[in-house]
Homo-oligomer: 415 residues x 2
């Protein structure tokens, strides 16, 4: 039997135990994991050092090395993240709907765990702990396949969490970390129907597309964000500058940062110089349409289809002056990845029209797109931001790691 199928069988065996565990037992396990992370900080740092050494030898960029690094502060942060899940309401057992049928059947729709969740991710090793803890709280078993850059850190974190589970009387196999870096394991995991109930890829667009294209297990697609701010003709200029600047420059590497700016022609001559002035602080590179170049001058480079379609994840923006809100909505419809979109406006009609007609997980009126986040929404934690329409859309918290079950009670009803 393949190593991957063995992982699947072990996960399926552990599944009913964590699915049936009480909220108290799950919270005790989270507490034990948090404590174990703190107590084993030096061990984690030592294993992480091996990954960092390899990263240096492979000439990994300084930014990537920084993302990979675990120190006492970051380990304390991970432990705190686990502790915070304890306070969140347990979604399992929640009655979502219930009714009685004319024939006397009583039907109750209840939240139950998804079962076995597979996470395929790269980059930061803290995902190992975040994802495992969220899956655990929602009563699921989890199989974690991280990137090769963090393999020593991931295995060490997995072992610490598994030991903590056993100390609480739970099977270690509720949390399994793949201990190799082979592509074959990833490919097998993507086709482990019957053992894995859902796959959640986290990382680059390339990784996510590889999973979407190859998995036969149901996938929740996360992450890609070609987001826009549209500045309506009635916008408050100062508010529009603040929101656009924040959405672009506060953290340009993330999926809820904007990549393009659309400006109504009647406000462009006032607004564009103001935002260009603000962008100077971060040396934001501007691509623009002809009208943008007319207004801002030829430091602006000509934008093509390519710039409007690109997720820069950097201090770069593509600007277009539009004749109407309809043109803005049509542009968004063409280029958006349906993640987060924003209008800045004083017009009630424009606000309603934009929220009704723009198809995206999150549609903002007069607020930065940077708020599309489980923490900011008050969900306490998130396992990713879904950009597909099935099952989950937008920030995914604990409820999105569950499914439902119908319980039907009768007294002999037949058809």
């Amino acid at each position: 039997m393949s190593y991957t199928k063995e992982l699947g069988i072990k996960a399926k065996n552990a599944e009913p135990i964590i699915a049936g565990a009480s909220t108290k037992l799950k919270n005790d396990a989270l507490s034990a994991i948090s404590k174990a992370l703190t107590e084993n900080a030096q061990l984690i740092i030592a294993e992480n050092a091996k990954d960092l050494q390899a990263a240096k030898e492979n000439n990994m960029s300084q930014a990537m090395q920084d993302r990979l690094k675990l120190d006492e502060t970051r380990i304390a942060g991970m432990a705190k993240g686990v502790d915070e899940l304890i306070a969140l309401n347990d979604p399992i057992g929640q009655v979502i709907d219930g009714f009685e049928r004319p024939n006397g059947l009583r039907i109750t729709k209840k939240r139950v765990p998804l079962g076995v969740i597979g996470i395929i991710f790269e980059s930061r090793p803290n995902v190992t702990v975040d994802a495992a803890a969220l899956c655990l709280k929602a009563g699921n078993a989890v199989i974690l396949k991280g990137g090769k850059e963090a393999i020593n850190s991931n295995i060490c974190l997995g072992k610490i969490m598994r030991d903590a589970l056993e100390k609480c009387g739970l099977p270690a196999d509720i949390i399994q970390v793949v201990d190799n870096t082979s592509r074959e394991t990833t490919n097998e995991l993507m086709k482990l129907n019957g053992y894995v109930d859902v796959l959640i890829p986290r990382g680059s667009a390339r990784l996510i597309q590889a999973v979407v294209q190859n998995a036969t297990v149901p996938v929740i697609e996360t992450g890609a964000g070609n987001c826009h701010v549209y500045v309506d003709d009635s916008a408050d200029i100062d508010m529009a500058v603040d929101i656009t600047d924040n959405a672009k420059t506060q953290r340009p590497s993330v999926c809820n940062a904007i990549e393009s700016l659309l400006v109504h022609k009647d406000i462009a001559e006032k607004f564009l110089p103001a935002i260009a002035e603000r962008f100077k602080a971060h040396n934001v590179k501007i691509y623009g349409c002809d009208k943008t170049i007319d207004i801002l001058g030829d430091t602006v480079e000509k934008a093509t289809e390519i710039e409007y379609a690109t997720e820069f994840n950097d201090y770069i923006i593509a600007v277009k002056v539009v004749d109407s809100i309809d043109e803005a909505i049509a542009h968004i419809r063409k280029y958006s990845t349906r993640h987060s979109e924003c209008i800045v406006t004083k017009s009630l009609d424009s606000a309603h029209k934009f929220q009704k007609e723009v198809d995206a997980a999150a549609v903002y009126v007069n607020a930065s797109t940077r708020f599309t986040d489980g923490g900011e929404f008050g969900y306490g934690a998130e396992i990713g931001i879904s950009t597909q329409k099935l099952h989950a859309r937008g920030p995914m918290g604990l409820a999105e790691l569950t499914t439902v079950k119908y319980l039907i009670d009768g007294n002999g009803q037949i058809r």
Copy 2:
């Protein structure tokens, strides 16, 4: 450009119009479709006759020919089904959740259409109308790919519905019926990411697995039902006989009929002869374990792993005597397709244990599994019964043909 991609583009162009349509307009369109079906009954029957002629020439079984046949009564039934959707509440626009964050952001979670739904089906042409009408009511565009046996009927039904849409001022491309029977179109439809938001296969297990294995578009898996009745030691014998007989023989070809019967050893000697007597009316063929054979005699054939794993869809049942409810639950865990499972019992403990530990879309206490159905649940109509855990589980009504959108209203909030 391929024919299939053209279908996708046309659907995406029609999508925002039906997504934004008022409930009244959608209901008017349903009413127009229902009327057009009735008025064009003779045309439908004539086109259906071509399919029936081809079926005869290809020696299709009489039962299959019967499923294919449309007559005035069946057409009236289809029209009535469409009319009944008018009375159902429109799920679109429903506010599912809403809250205000400490920073003043007001967040509203609203139901919106999924977008473009692809249905791949075989057998009965009435699926063409049922599925199109459900998708329409939930604000979606739909692409229907039926089987080659019903191609003339399907094209005719599609044309009638499209004409009715245009008479209401809606684009015909809200409903598209694939007008060829090529496998290539099906394969392309399964990979039409960006144009099709979800695929729902309906038909044989073979068809459904082909879609699950090959699609890169998200799929909702429907249908497979290896369902069980477990007769607990405390069961009322008469009730257990009625429920088991109904669940097996009332309509054995459907997914919510049972395939296996589990009986507690302490009740087996009383219950098994009673149910065997009842089964005689339908000549139900019984496979059984050694204890079953001991009790019922050697008209019972020995059951193997194969019988316990088979969805017979026929007057055949596999029986096993178990030592305990735990053995019954373990057996179900091993063989069930997680569709519908039933316990007959007088014990509150057994009822609770069974409903908690059995993992299935619908778990019954003292009622026939045959109730797992959109109509029986009061959902008015269904597009299928989901046997996967993502997005939808159990009977899928209008709500399952929707997704959500977060609307966020601020007054200049930035991070």
